[in-house]
Symmetry: C3
Subunit: 500 residues, 3 copies
C-alpha cells in the first residue's frame, strides 16, 4: 500500500513535470508553432481551393491566402481586415517586416466614422467610388476617389469617408507603415457607439474629460461615447451627396493649394503604362509623382496581365514588393536561395526519377515539411558546416509558388526571380507596393533587355566560357523570346512553338 501510494505520488509528480515541460516547450516554441500551424492550415485550406493541386506547399512565408487576414470589423455595412504580421525570420527584419496589409470593404452608401491611425496609409481603390475627408493641420480637405486611384494619408491625420455609390461596394487595399511600434497600428476613434466601438475619450478619467471640454461628464459621455451607431453605418443619400459635393471640383484640375495637390489621389489605372503589349500592361506611381511615396521610400505598381498570358521572369534589384491580387486568378512562382535546404524541386524530382522510391504523397509531405523547417535546418546545417572546415554547401534554389486569386498577398524579396501567370478565365491584375524603392531597378530575365541576351550578344568570350559547347544553342535560346515584360503564357504556348 505504502509503495503504491508513493508510486502514485511519483506518477502525479511526473505528470505535473510533463505538463510543465510541455508548457515551457509551447511557450518557447510559440512563434515557430504559430508559423507552422499557420503554414499548415493555410496549406490545407489552400489545397481545397486549388483547381489542379499544382503546388503542394502553401508558399509560406512568401504567399498568404485570404485565410491569413483577420477581421477587425464586420458589420453588414462593411468590413475591415488586416493581414497577419510578417513574423517569419526571413521577413521580420526585412524592409517589409514592419508594414501591414489591410483591406476595407464598404457597402453602398456606407459611412466610416472619423479616426486617426498611428501609421501612414497608402491605399488603392480596387472597386467602386468614395469620398475621403481629411482633417489635417487645421484644414479640411475632401477627395473623391474611384477605382484605380492611389492616395496617401499621413499618420495622425483625422479621416472619415463614405461609399458614394448607390449600389456598388467600395473596396480598398492598403499598406500601413506604423510609426509608433513596428508592425502594429491602432485606430483612434473620437466618437464611439457604446459597446462595439469605444471612443478613446473613454480611457480618460471623468474629471479630466470635464475639464477638457469644460462640460459635465454626462454630456461628454453622451456625445462622444454613444452617439455613433457603429464604425461603419449607412448614410442617407442626401448626406452622401453633401459629403462628396465639396471635392468634385478639385479633381483633375490644377487648382487647389500646394498641400491639397500633395494628397490628391492619382489614378494609376488610367496612367500611361510604362510597358504595354498584347499580353499585359504595367503602370507605376513613383516618388517623382508623389512626394509622400518618396518619404515612405515606396512606389506603387499595377500589373494587368492578359488572360492566359504571363509576366516575364524578373526581379527588383533593391525593393521588396508586396503584391496583392486585385482581380482575376492564376499562379506565381519564385526561386529562393535562402529557403533552399539542398536543391530545387526540379533537381529533387530528377533524383527521384532515378531512385523511384516512395509515393507521390510522401514526397509532397516531405517537401512541405522541409519547406516549413528549412530555415531552422539551414541554421543547423550551417553550424555543423562551420565546424568541419572546408565543408561545402551545395547551391540550390527552392521553388516557392502558389495558386493565387483576388485577395492573395505575395511578398517578392529583392533579387529573387519570379513570375506571375494569369488564369484562363480573365485578366489577372496585381497591385505591387514596392518598399525600399530608392534606386531600385527592374531586371527582366527574358526578352531583348535581359542580361543573358546582353552577355550572349555582346561578349563572345563570355558566351563560350559560360555555355561551353552549347554556346550556339544558348544564343538561339535567349533570342527565342521576342516579347518583353509580358509574354505568351504556358497554356497559350501549348498550341505550338511553330506559330511564332
Amino acid at each position: 500500500m505504502k509503495l503504491t501510494a508513493r508510486s502514485r505520488l511519483l506518477l502525479v509528480l511526473a505528470l505535473a513535470i510533463l505538463s510543465l515541460c510541455l508548457s515551457v516547450s509551447s511557450a518557447s516554441d510559440w512563434d515557430t508553432e504559430r508559423e507552422e500551424r499557420g503554414g499548415q492550415s493555410a496549406g490545407r485550406q489552400g489545397e481545397g481551393e486549388q483547381e489542379q493541386g499544382r503546388y503542394s506547399s502553401s508558399g509560406r512565408p512568401y504567399h498568404y491566402g485570404e485565410e491569413s487576414f483577420k477581421y477587425r470589423t464586420t458589420t453588414r455595412h462593411g468590413r475591415f481586415r488586416v493581414l497577419e504580421r510578417f513574423t517569419h525570420e526571413l521577413l521580420r527584419d526585412s524592409p517589409v517586416g514592419d508594414r501591414r496589409v489591410a483591406v476595407l470593404e464598404a457597402a453602398p452608401r456606407a459611412f466610416l466614422q472619423p479616426s486617426h491611425y498611428d501609421a501612414d496609409e497608402v491605399f488603392y481603390v480596387r472597386e467602386g467610388e468614395g469620398v475621403v475627408v481629411m482633417l489635417w493641420k487645421g484644414k479640411r480637405q475632401s477627395f473623391c476617389v474611384r477605382e484605380g486611384d492611389v492616395m496617401v494619408i499621413p499618420a495622425g491625420a483625422t479621416v472619415y469617408s463614405a461609399n458614394t455609390h448607390d449600389s456598388r461596394w467600395f473596396r480598398v487595399v492598403m499598406l500601413l507603415n506604423p510609426v509608433s511600434t513596428p508592425g502594429r497600428f491602432g485606430e483612434f476613434f473620437p466618437v464611439g457607439s457604446g459597446e462595439r466601438q469605444e471612443s478613446f475619450f473613454g480611457a480618460f478619467s471623468d474629471d479630466i474629460l470635464q475639464a477638457s471640454f469644460n462640460a459635465r461628464k454626462e454630456e461628454v459621455e453622451k456625445v462622444f461615447e454613444e452617439s455613433s451607431e457603429g464604425e461603419i453605418t449607412q448614410a442617407p443619400e442626401e448626406q452622401i451627396r453633401a459629403l462628396s459635393k465639396s471635392c468634385s471640383s478639385s479633381r483633375g484640375s490644377g487648382s487647389g493649394s500646394r498641400s491639397e495637390q500633395d494628397f490628391k489621389p492619382t489614378s494609376i489605372a488610367s496612367k500611361k503604362p510604362r510597358y504595354s503589349n498584347n499580353h499585359g500592361r504595367l503602370s507605376e506611381i513613383t516618388g517623382d509623382e508623389c512626394p509622400h511615396l518618396r518619404r515612405l521610400d515606396m512606389e506603387v505598381g499595377l500589373a494587368n496581365i492578359t488572360r492566359g498570358s504571363m509576366m516575364a521572369m524578373s526581379y527588383s534589384t533593391r525593393a521588396t514588393k508586396i503584391a496583392v491580387v486585385v482581380e482575376g486568378n492564376g499562379y506565381f512562382e519564385m526561386a529562393c536561395p535562402h529557403m533552399s535546404g539542398s536543391s530545387s524541386r526540379r533537381s529533387e524530382r530528377r533524383r527521384e526519377r532515378e531512385q523511384e522510391h516512395g509515393s507521390e504523397q510522401e514526397r509532397r509531405e516531405r517537401q512541405e515539411r522541409e519547406h516549413e523547417q528549412s530555415s531552422e535546418e539551414e541554421r543547423r546545417r550551417e553550424r555543423e558546416q562551420g565546424q568541419r572546415e572546408g565543408g561545402q554547401k551545395s547551391r540550390g534554389y527552392r521553388q516557392v509558388g502558389a495558386n493565387i486569386k483576388e485577395g492573395s498577398v505575395i511578398v517578392l524579396p529583392a533579387a529573387h526571380p519570379a513570375t506571375f501567370v494569369a488564369g484562363g478565365d480573365g485578366n489577372l491584375a496585381v497591385l505591387c507596393f514596392g518598399v525600399g524603392a530608392e534606386r531600385d531597378e527592374k531586371v527582366f530575365l527574358t526578352g531583348k533587355n535581359s542580361p543573358l541576351r546582353q552577355l550572349v550578344e555582346e561578349d563572345e568570350a563570355a558566351r563560350k566560357l559560360v555555355f561551353g559547347e552549347r554556346a550556339q544553342e544558348a544564343e538561339k535560346l535567349v533570342r527565342g523570346q521576342s516579347d518583353d515584360v509580358f509574354v505568351r503564357g504556358p497554356r497559350q504556348r501549348q498550341s505550338g512553338v511553330a506559330d511564332m
Copy 2:
C-alpha cells in the same frame, strides 16, 4: 526494499527533472519576468507615494518612476543615474527603444573628469549653472550653461565639466543616442582614480602603453591610473573661476566660429513660447535652430503648466516623446489601443456598475494583472481569432496613467491622445525629447484647432452622420472649451462651469 530504492531513485530523478525544467522555464521567461517584476515593484512603490491612489497600475511600460533609474556613480560630490532600457515589446523596436535617459547631479563646485561616450548626448540644465569644455576635432571649446539651456554633445567628443556655483547643485537631464550598440552606452575615462574608476588605458598591455607614450609603464600607470580622486570631485574656487572664464564671452554674442555656434547651448526656458496663456506655456527647440537635433531626428520641448491647470488632450502625429518631469508634480493619462485587452477603464466600470459583483480591491488587482499581461493576452487572442475566420476584435482603449513628480519619465507614442495635469502645489514643468521629429505635427483634441471642432463647424453632413440625433449637443460641446493648448484643470473646474 528494492522497490523502495527504485522509488527513491525515481523521486530523486523526478526532482532533478523538476529543477531542470524550472531552470529552463526561468531562462526562457527571463525578460517577461523582469518586466513583470519591474512593473509590480514599481506599482507597489508607486502606490505608497501616491497621494490619493488615483491610479491602481504602475503605468508601465509608458511610465517610469525614480526607482527605475540605476546609479552608475554616487559620491558626496555628485551622482549619475540611468533609466532602465525600454525593453517592453511595445517599445523596444519603437523610435525610442535604442535611446537612454540619464540624470547627472553635481554638488556645488563639483568637477567631472574628462571622458567620451559612444553616444550622442542631448542635455537640458534643470537646475544651477556649470561650464562644459569640449575637446573636439583638435579644438578646445568651452560653454557656460545655466538653468533652461539645451545643448548637444556629439558621440566621441572628450568633455569635462564643472558646477560653477558655490552653493547650488547643478542638475542635468539627458537623452543618449548610442552609436555602437543600440540601447547601451559606455563612458570612456582616460584618467582613473585607482579602484573606483579605472582609466581605459588600464585595459592595454604594459608594453603597448610604454610604446604609446614612449615612457616607462610606471609613469603611465601613475599618471593615468591613479591621479584623479574620482569621477566627480570638488574643485577649489579659483580653478572653477579659471575654467568658466574662457566661455563667458561667447555666450549670447554673435561671435565664435561656425562650429562653436553649432554647439552653443540654447536657452529653451527663455525662448519666446510657441503657445502661452494663463494656464501654461510651451517652448520648443527644433532642427531649424539646432542642426545637431535635426541630424538626430529630434526636437526638444518644455511645457510649463500652471498650478492646477492642464495641458489639453493632444497627440504627436509622428514623434514618440520621452517626457521627463523637471519641476512640480501632478498626473498624466493616455489612451492606448495596443494595450487594450478588451475595453477601457470606463466601459469596464460601466459594466461593473451593472453587474455589481466583486470588491474594488479585486477589480484593481485584476486590472493590474490584465495590464501586465495584456500584450501576451492580446497575441493569444489574435491567434485564436485568426483561426475562426470572421471573428471580430472588439475595439477599446486602455487607460494608462500615473501620478508623476520630479524625475518621473513618461513615454508618449505617436498618435496616442494624452494629457498632463499640474498638481495643486505649484507649476508642473515637463521636458519633452521628441524622437522621429521630421514632419511631426501636434494635434490638440479640444479648443479652436481641434479636428472635432473643424468637423462640426465645417461639415454639416459629417456632423449629422457622426453624431446622429446629438449633432446639436456635439456642436455645443466642442465649442465649450475656449482655451487652447493649456486649459483650466479638473480641480479648478470644480468651482463650477458657470464661472466661464
Copy 3:
C-alpha cells in the same frame, strides 16, 4: 510484479520527460550555446596558433580567426568563403550586424560564372589582377582591377569575372550589405552545372520555362542547367585576353560615361595617404570620391603598419569598423566598457599580486569564463542593482585582444580605444570597412592632436583638476610621444627610451 511494472513505466516516463526537457533546453539556449562554443573552440584553436600565448581569450565577439569562415564553394580553381554572422548581442543590432564579410580566391585564369546577389558588394583586391564585367541597366561594362583596388557592385547587377593572370591567384575581400534579409545574402546563378551548382531557372516549372523562353523545356534545361562546368572554372588564355581587352582603355583615363565613372575601381593602395611616416601609412576612400560608398554610409581605409611599429591608440567617433588583415601578422588590443564585468585585466592583476592566491592557469580560465559570460552577468548584475537603490556599478574596461594574421577579422565599435601592432616578420596591412561613416571623426589618444595633450597644454585649471599633484608629470608624459598616427612599436621601444 505489478509495482515493478509501474516503476518501470515511471522510469520510462521520467526519462522521456528528461530528454524532452533537455531538448527544450537546447532549443532555447541555442544561440548562447553556439556563441559559447564558437568562442571556446576559437579560443582553443587560436591558442595553438599563438606564438607566445599573449592573449588567453579568443577576443570574441570582436575578433574572428580564419576558422570562423564557412566555405560556400571549394574547387581546385577557386574558393568562396563567408564569415559567420555577427549574432552576439553586442553586435547583432549594431551598424555592422546586418553585414557579411566574404573572401573570394580564384586560381590563375579562373573564370567565375555570371550571377547576381541580393546584396551590395564592396570589394578590395588583396592580391593579383582580374576583370569584372557588369551587366547593369541594359549596359555591359567591364573593369580591370588589380591589387589595391576598391570597387562597388550594386545589389542585383549581373556580374562575371576572371583572374587575368597566368600564374598568380586573384584574391578579393568583400563586405556585403544584404538588401532583402538583414545578415543573409544569396547568389543567383542563371547557368548551372548539374548537381554542384544549380541554375535558378531550375526552380521554375517546365511549362513556365517553356513559355518564358518560347522553347522546349529540354532545350532550356540543357542550356541553363547543365552547360557550365561549375561556378569557378579555368579559362583558355585567349578568352581571358578577350575578356580583359575591352576594359583596358577605361582605366585611369577621364573618359567613359558618367555611370562608368561611378563604378570604376579606385586604387586605395596608390592613393596619396592621409597620414604617413616611417612607421606606417593610412589611405582612405570616402563618400566624396565614391558616391556608392556614401549611399551605403561607408568608407574604406587601408592601414599599412611598418614591421614592428604600431598604430597609435585611437577610436572612431561614429563609425563601426570591420578590419580585415590583408597582409602580415601582429596583434590588436581594445578597451571595452560594455563587456566589463568588474575590472580590467590590469587592475585584476594588481589585486592578485596583493592576494597571491590561485595559479596563473586558474586565473586564465576564470577570465575566459567571465569574458564569455560577461554580458549575461552584466544584465543580472544590472537587474540586481536596480533593486537596491543607490547601488553603484564599479567602472572598468575589459581588454579584448588577439594575435592576428592574414584573414583575421576584427570589429572595432565606435568610441572604443584600440591599437594594432605589426609583428616582427614584415608589415601589417589592415583593410577597414567603416560602417556609419557620415560625420565620423578619428581621434588619436597620443601625439600632437590627442585630446589629452590639448587639455594639458591649453587648460591649466583642468590640468590641475584632472591630474592633481601629478600635473607636471602628466604634462611631460603627454608630450613624450612625438609621432602621430603610426608610432614605434613595443619591441622597437625596448631598445630604450634614451634613444629619443
